[in-house]
């Protein structure tokens, strides 16, 4: 009886599941059967019908003109944006001048001392070495420019994020209102933020800082709110039982309990701010990003590398130091207050002495003789690569050949396929996939976002971008899942991968373009390759974590039944890690899109190019439309791959 009933019930469950999916598909098919012929008859052709587009370039251009005309006269600009803009410029300048006045020795010592206090000797040495390397690469001044912009943007982001996080953490209504906005902001590519701020502030430092703030504040707000909401209810109850007031509860319990999340928020905000500060070089941020941007524009890999290395060093140092602060908070080890104050005084004295010494000896700027020019040798190496590795290598073929093959065999067919598909069929596919993975709500959002792209009149370039995203996602997932499975099954593999992943995950998107341009030249394939490299660490990490967190009891049970390694993987680990796998896909799509769009800088074409073109030519209308399409594309891709919501609701 028992043996009979088990398969029977499983079959039943299976059938139920299938029938639910089938039901959704049938409903959609019915819908399609009615509407598709009508739509096809009404608007023949595969591309989005022209009759259904709304041309926004006219109104946008006039809006942009209006802003330009009124920037110096309209009260909104005079009394609000003007002040904001001036304050930002003033702050950045003040920080920049302070950094310069401290001299290279002062800044290096300051960084090392801070790192030493919060994270120990090794990180202090690393920090000092990183600063010295920035100087040695001849990038001291750009590094300080970027740092000054970062300091201001990060402080503003933290303040803004903290406020929003407090509001969302303490008020359910505000949380409901803010959460979808913050969630959506999180998935949008950095590129999409550039144009709106340029429209208001024009190209320059204020626009760069504000774009950075808008981009970097959401993680702080999200994590603060999360930390406040996740406060141990037992502790909060105990605090209330002692008669604490609301303020006391917040200041002595809720905020300290959330300190780990808040510190993680600080870390993420800093990393995102760096990433954006580099990209914002396109709208006048200056500094390291600008050097990379200029070098990439002239395909000068050596110069790009010389500016890219300081960015990576800055990223790694900032990440490690802030992460170390978080860990230290977790341990909760603190010295006695008296000793801390004494130590601080000593450190301040050391710093002052170094700065003074620098001033007296007149060595404030990095000495010119100490600059190592790596651009020339790198370019020589690159030229050698172009000559010997690009093509014609026996058997394996050259990198340029690979890129060309990838373009003709993968990217082109996908693009042509997408563009050849009737627009209503594509909408149906989006709806079907989103509905099967998520809820009818995510399906509706995804379909509407896709339709909005058509309405904006950028159907074709958007599909081009989409084809690059799909190809890069496929490659990333194959490599990422493989690497993660290998790492989960072999400790040695994991040990080898971990430091690489740690470094890769901290680097700004922009930097990834440098090596791919060196290897593959420019075009759509390099953009996709950069996206793969950028998204890979996150995918490997999420999948690896999911596999490792599989209930060891279930795995042990499978082993005790004599399951082979492959059986364990396919029948236990992967099914149990399903949520992690889906999350990895979701993250992968979001990250890939972000870089594919940035790839517009290196010949990726499509929407990214429109944005770059809009910025470069001052044609904001084109850029804004492309930016809006990027937002829609990001929304669509995120919703299509968003399975989480339904399961959370089910569990709750």
């Amino acid at each position: 009886m028992a043996t009979l009933s088990v398969p029977a019930s499983r079959l039943g469950a299976d059938r139920l599941l299938r029938s639910r999916a089938l039901g959704k598909l049938l409903l959609l098919a019915l819908f399609a059967a009615v509407l598709a012929p009508w739509a096809a008859a009404r608007w023949p052709g595969a591309a989005w019908p022209h009759a259904l587009t709304v041309d926004l370039s006219g109104p946008l251009a006039s809006a942009s003109d209006w802003v330009v005309d009124n920037r110096d006269s309209h009260p909104l600009f005079l009394y609000f944006f003007g002040y904001v803009s001036n304050a930002v410029v003033l702050c950045v300048r003040a920080v920049y001048l302070t950094l310069l006045a401290a001299g290279w020795a002062g800044v290096t010592v300051f960084g090392a001392l801070v790192a030493w206090r919060v994270a120990g000797v090794r990180l202090a040495a690393g920090t000092a070495a990183a600063f010295l390397a920035c100087g040695a690469l001849g990038m001291w001044v750009p590094t300080m420019q970027t740092l000054a912009l970062m300091v201001v943007a990060v402080l503003a982001s933290l303040a803004l994020g903290m406020l929003l996080g407090l509001a969302a953490g303490l008020s359910d209504r505000l949380d409901r209102a803010l959460r979808p906005v913050l969630d959506t902001m999180q998935v949008l590519p950095a590129f999409a933020y550039l144009l709106p701020v340029v429209l208001v502030f024009g190209i320059g430092v204020p626009a760069a800082v504000l774009a950075t703030v808008v981009y970097a504040a959401p993680p702080m707000a999200r994590l603060t709110s999360l930390g406040l909401r996740a406060a141990d209810p037992g502790v909060m109850e105990a605090v209330a039982s002692l008669g604490a007031t609301f303020r006391q509860r917040l200041l002595t319990a809720r905020l300290p309990l959330a300190r780990k999340e808040i510190m993680l928020g600080v870390n993420q905000t800093i990393m995102m701010a760096l990433s954006m500060a580099v990209i914002a070089s396109m709208i006048g941020a200056g500094g390291l990003g600008d050097r990379v941007y200029q070098a990439l524009a002239s395909v000068d890999v050596g110069a790009a590398l010389a500016a890219g290395i300081p960015i990576v060093l800055l990223a790694v140092v900032l990440d490690r130091v802030t992460a170390a602060v978080g860990e230290r908070l977790g341990e909760g080890a603190e010295a006695a207050p008296g000793r801390t104050a004494a130590r601080r005084a000593v450190l301040a004295a050391v710093l002052a002495a170094v700065v003074l010494l620098g001033r007296l000896t007149g060595a404030l700027t990095w000495p010119g003789g100490w600059v190592a020019d790596i651009a020339a040798p790198v370019n020589t190496a690159k030229d050698w690569m172009v000559d010997h590795l690009y093509s014609g290598v026996p058997v394996v073929g050259g990198t340029a050949d690979w890129a060309a093959h990838f373009t003709t065999w993968v990217l082109d067919p996908i693009r042509d396929g997408l563009q050849g598909l009737p627009w209503w069929a594509l909408l149906l596919v989006v709806a079907a996939v989103a509905w099967l993975i998520g809820t009818w709500r995510t399906a509706l959002t995804a379909t509407l976002a896709m339709a909005a792209i058509g309405v904006l009149g950028v159907w074709k370039p958007s599909l081009d971008t989409l084809s690059q995203v799909l190809a890069a996602v496929a490659v990333t997932l194959v490599i990422g899942f493989g690497a993660a499975v290998a790492a989960a099954r072999s400790a040695r593999c994991e040990r080898m991968l971990r430091p690489v992943l740690d470094v890769c995950q901290t680097m700004p998107q922009f930097v990834y373009l440098i090596p791919v341009v060196a290897l593959f030249g420019v075009g759509r394939a390099p953009a996709a390759a950069a996206a793969v490299v950028y998204a890979l660490p996150a995918v490997i990490r999420i999948v690896g974590q999911g596999l490792r967190q599989v209930d060891p009891g279930a795995l042990e049970a499978a082993r005790s039944l004599g399951a082979t390694g492959a059986q364990q993987l396919w029948q236990v680990q992967l099914p149990l890690a399903r949520r992690a796998l889906l999350l990895a896909v979701n993250q992968c799509v979001v990250l890939v899109l972000a870089v594919v769009v940035v790839g517009g800088l290196v010949g990726g074409g499509a929407l990214g190019y429109n944005v770059v073109f809009g910025l470069a030519q001052g044609d904001l209308a084109t850029g804004l439309v492309a930016g809006a399409a990027i937002v829609c594309l990001g929304l669509m891709l995120d919703r299509v791959t968003q399975p989480v919501e339904r399961h959370v609701r089910k569990g709750a």
């Binding site: 109850e237 039982s241 002692l242 008669g243």
Partner: protein, 425 residues
């Protein structure tokens, strides 16, 4: 609503907490449930089906006397944790009255309630509720900090309490570096530091290892002996309840099914539920010789060993076995009755009619509140009560903790209505 707990207000002791007709209903429009006799009579499933509400506490009434350890015991889901939170309105009650020293708790405004929580009732929690970012000392001083006590003074006072609960030398550690037992000592110290009138314990030792749990129970017994503080103790562990409680309220499905001394609960369970609950308790270690004694005849009065009226049956068995004759129950030089092997065996076997031995007219005046009549028919529990049970209350704890109403059980003259909602069972 036949629920009237016979007021047990001895003239000398005013109740610290006085709870009357307390309801806590979770769910939409919870207010209507206690108000509507039809709804309030429904059982849990019926209530949920009808209204979508869950009644965690149903019409509970009791008084907590000054200086006693009042135990609320029940299985998980019986509403005992909700009940104790209602006392200081950590959970807002739905209906009924709560008074602390005669002052209506439900009528208190925010400031007054805060005052109550700060100075009059402090709570110890099952999962400790310590602040992980503070040292032991700062955790203990936290209640004082909330009250606005200056830094040096509160640290000084906290240090005293830390020493009192046996944590000297650990002041600088953080909760994460302590064992479970040590953490609960911190929780206890935090509650003690504010010098409250009442200590509320919410299953404080349930998360601890058995051995550490016993240590902590003894710590509580010790503290109570030394300070005589009023305590309300929530537990799901019968042996803990018997060991610590002066009186025990046994809860089931939100109602108090029996309220009485450990001896009453074990000796005359109010219904089958309680009977099943206490079946495995070694009766000879909880019941006193008062239960077993019979009137002294002239022959008995002459000789044999003497035992105190508070002595447990187990102790009397030892005395009787040693002497080989019946033992006299002697209180202040007067012989109250005798126990012999027959009567003692009857208690152990559970065959003795708990109402059996006629009480002498002289009830000791110091026996505290006269316990209310227990209604359940004596019955003949068929269970072998003397089986080797794991839930053994140690003799000295069982006898040492008895004060109020230890011997005051009176034979039910007539079947009085149940004291609590036993009709629901």
């Amino acid at each position: 609503m036949t629920l009237t707990v016979p007021t047990r207000k001895p003239p000398t002791d005013a109740p610290v907490f006085s709870v009357d007709g307390l309801w806590k209903v979770f769910g939409p429009k919870a207010d209507r449930v206690p108000a509507d006799p039809e709804l309030s009579a429904l059982d849990a499933a019926g209530l949920r089906a009808r209204t979508g509400c869950t009644a965690a506490v149903r019409d509970v009434s009791f008084d907590v006397l000054k200086g006693e350890v009042f135990v609320v015991m029940g299985l998980s889901g019986s509403g005992k944790s909700t009940l104790v939170r209602c006392l200081t309105r950590l959970i807002e009650p739905t209906a009924g009255t709560i008074a602390i020293d005669g002052e209506d708790v439900r009528a208190m405004d925010k400031g007054r309630l805060r005052e109550l929580r700060r100075h009059r009732a402090a709570m110890v929690f099952q999962h400790f509720g310590l602040l992980p970012h503070r040292t032991v000392l700062d955790n203990v001083a936290y209640g004082l900090e909330i009250q606005g006590v200056g830094r040096s003074e509160r640290r000084e006072r906290a240090a005293e309490v830390v020493a009192k609960v046996g944590l000297e030398g650990m002041e600088k550690r953080r909760p994460g570096q302590l064992s479970g037992g040590q953490r609960q000592r911190v929780g206890l110290a935090r509650a003690l530091a504010v010098d409250p009138e009442v200590l509320l314990f919410d299953e404080p030792f349930s998360a601890l290892d058995p051995l550490i749990r016993r240590d902590m129970q003894e710590e509580v017994v010790r503290l109570h002996r030394e300070e005589g503080r009023t305590m309300v103790f929530i537990t799901h562990d019968l042996s803990e309840a018997l060991k610590l409680g002066d009186r025990i309220a046994l809860m089931r499905d939100g109602r108090v099914v029996q309220l009485g001394t450990p001896e009453e609960i074990v000796g005359s369970p109010a219904d089958d539920y309680v009977r099943a609950f206490v079946r495995d308790v070694p009766r000879e270690q909880v019941l006193t010789v008062r239960t077993a004694m019979r009137p002294a005849s002239a022959a008995d009065a002459a000789g044999g060993p003497a035992v105190r009226p508070e002595a447990t049956v187990a102790e009397a068995i030892e005395a009787v076995a040693r002497a080989g004759t019946a033992a006299r129950v002697v209180d202040a030089g007067r012989c109250l009755g005798v126990v012999d092997s027959d009567t003692l065996l009857g208690v152990v076997a559970g065959t003795a009619d708990p109402a059996g031995p006629a009480r002498p007219d002289t009830v000791p005046a110091g026996a505290g509140a006269p316990a209310p009549a227990v209604t359940a028919p004596p019955g003949k529990p068929g269970a072998p009560g003397a089986g080797p049970a794991p839930a053994a209350a140690t003799p000295e704890a069982a006898s040492g903790a008895r004060t109020a109403g230890a011997g005051g059980r009176r034979a039910p003259a007539s079947p009085t209505p149940p004291r609590t909602g036993t009709e629901a069972i």
